[in-house]
Symmetry: C2
Subunit: 311 residues, 2 copies
């Protein structure tokens, strides 16, 4: 990747996404001891940064590929993002969702025009169901986080943030599957080489933290965290980028996530998902090291179920 | 009031308030059947439009008056607004709060530098306690909604909204004490005479609705609504403005308030208080009449207690 090729991606996806605002708050700055700039992807189309990667991935398919549709397996934001991005581009999206997925999420995917297939709730079943659709329809499989075009698309949020605030000392993202963190780290390495990229990760799903330590992709035996977007593991496309360009991954407890979540909701007056609070919690945990610096936070999304809030 | 004198107020208070953003959403527009522009006073300093009126009222005091401080009785946003506005202007704020006020609100007022006096939870006790401070300290009493300078200050939100979107067909606000509605109606009559001003009011606290019908200020015997900022009644300063310039007040049920609240939270991804949802609920109830029009909503504030949400 070069700066120019990354700028080309920004330009290509621009008509299909929102340029989201960057918000800040004096009260938050006082609490954090530094200047915090929230890149608000909760205001992105369909409510999360995943719209960027999904759009870029579809745009990079050939006309012939697009005519046959795209397929993914996801119970989360990527399912909705791929459905909406596909619809915007006149492409059919096949979405494999586990039978354990909440009806509200299935309805959301259908609302964006995705064609839903329900499968048993194991990774093996999900992969096999997606593979069957690939074979039957000739649809192109797009992974939610371990795909170069998806990773590059996710990085455009950081590029916009750095365009607005070129002098950031650090950027924090949450880390789940590694698409957002990988894209952010790659973008920052090109556009702001002096800006350190950090991630926050739940103690209860600390696979990425352990992966950086061991040098190989680790998995979680369990993942009992309110940050339900972060239960997934890194992949072979984003792990090398993260190894090269991410300064450190910080673990945060469930209590710290909840406290950070409440701070953002009550002080910023914006709805963010628990995964986004993980990044802010990681900053708060390291506030001494970041004192008086300029710190960006990628707010990953704002899709929450009001009937199942953690407070 | 003239346009110029209103613009002077805008200019005078500008250094002490935020110019809040106007937000919109295609999903909300689809649901409402019109173009909706939310003036986001939830992002105002201390989280509500009350900051505008409090600031304007203090700025209109003489130096001598300011030196002796200001006093009000309020358990809500005006208590915090007056405290913060006073602190910004180097003025002492005495706040009389009922013993029934939640500790979190008392702490918030103290956090903004207000000097709190607790009194028994009746209007008579509140008024007497405030009067005693007026007499003892020589402080100027400022009413939360029935004060010309407060009313004019609240109207500046509508002026900003109309500066950003001059062609609005209608503006909706909630109505409680009548300060926001009166100020908005007065401002719109000067800056956009063709723009109709409407209010939403809870069925459970319908005093303003009945006041417009009867031609005199009515009160509520009870006010069992989740829109806790709207339990107060109109006053002799704002009622004549409302009679002259407000097109209609629409009543909404608690269910309609809750549904509107959830729509704003989940679709706009912003935290607004139930009182703000009352204005949007009133729009939704009258969507046929407003079809394809451009409609502004003054989002009154975003101070909510996450541990006591209505869902």
């Amino acid at each position: 990747m070069t700066k120019q090729s990354y700028l080309n991606i920004c330009e290509k996806i621009a008509p299909f996404i929102h340029r989201t605002p960057v918000m800040s708050s004096q009260l938050i700055n006082d609490i954090a001891g530094c200047e915090v700039f929230f890149k608000c992807e909760n205001f992105q189309k369909m409510g999360a940064f995943k719209m960027r990667g999904a759009t870029n991935a579809i745009l990079n398919l050939s006309e012939e590929q697009r005519a046959k549709g795209v397929v993914t397996h996801s119970s989360g934001n990527f399912a909705q993002a791929l459905s909406l991005a596909a619809r915007s581009l006149g492409v059919t999206a096949y979405i494999v969702m586990p039978s354990s997925a909440p009806q509200v999420k299935i309805d959301a995917v259908k609302g964006y025009g995705g064609i839903v297939s329900i499968c048993p709730p194991t990774l093996k079943d999900r992969e096999e169901s997606a593979k069957a659709i690939e074979n039957e329809k000739g649809a192109s499989f797009l992974h939610p986080s371990n795909d170069d075009d998806v990773i590059h698309g996710q990085g455009t949020a950081a590029i916009e943030l750095l365009e607005d605030y070129p002098n950031l000392n650090a950027i924090f993202t949450p880390v789940g599957g590694g698409g957002l963190l990988g894209g952010t780290a790659l973008a920052a390495s090109l556009f702001a080489p002096d800006c350190n990229v950090y991630a926050g990760e739940p103690e209860e799903a600390d696979d990425a933290y352990r992966s950086l330590k061991s040098g190989k992709i680790e998995t979680n035996d369990s993942a009992n965290t309110i940050a339900d977007g972060l239960k997934t593991q890194l992949g072979d496309r984003n792990f090398p980028i993260i190894q090269e360009h991410v300064k450190e991954i910080f673990l945060v407890s469930e209590e710290e996530i909840l406290e950070a979540l409440k701070l953002i909701w009550t002080r910023m007056k914006i709805i963010v998902e628990p995964s986004s609070a993980v990044a802010f919690a990681a900053l708060l945990k390291n506030k001494e090291a970041l004192k008086n610096q300029k710190v960006g936070i990628i707010i990953s999304g704002g899709n929450v179920d009001l009937d199942n809030l953690p407070f």
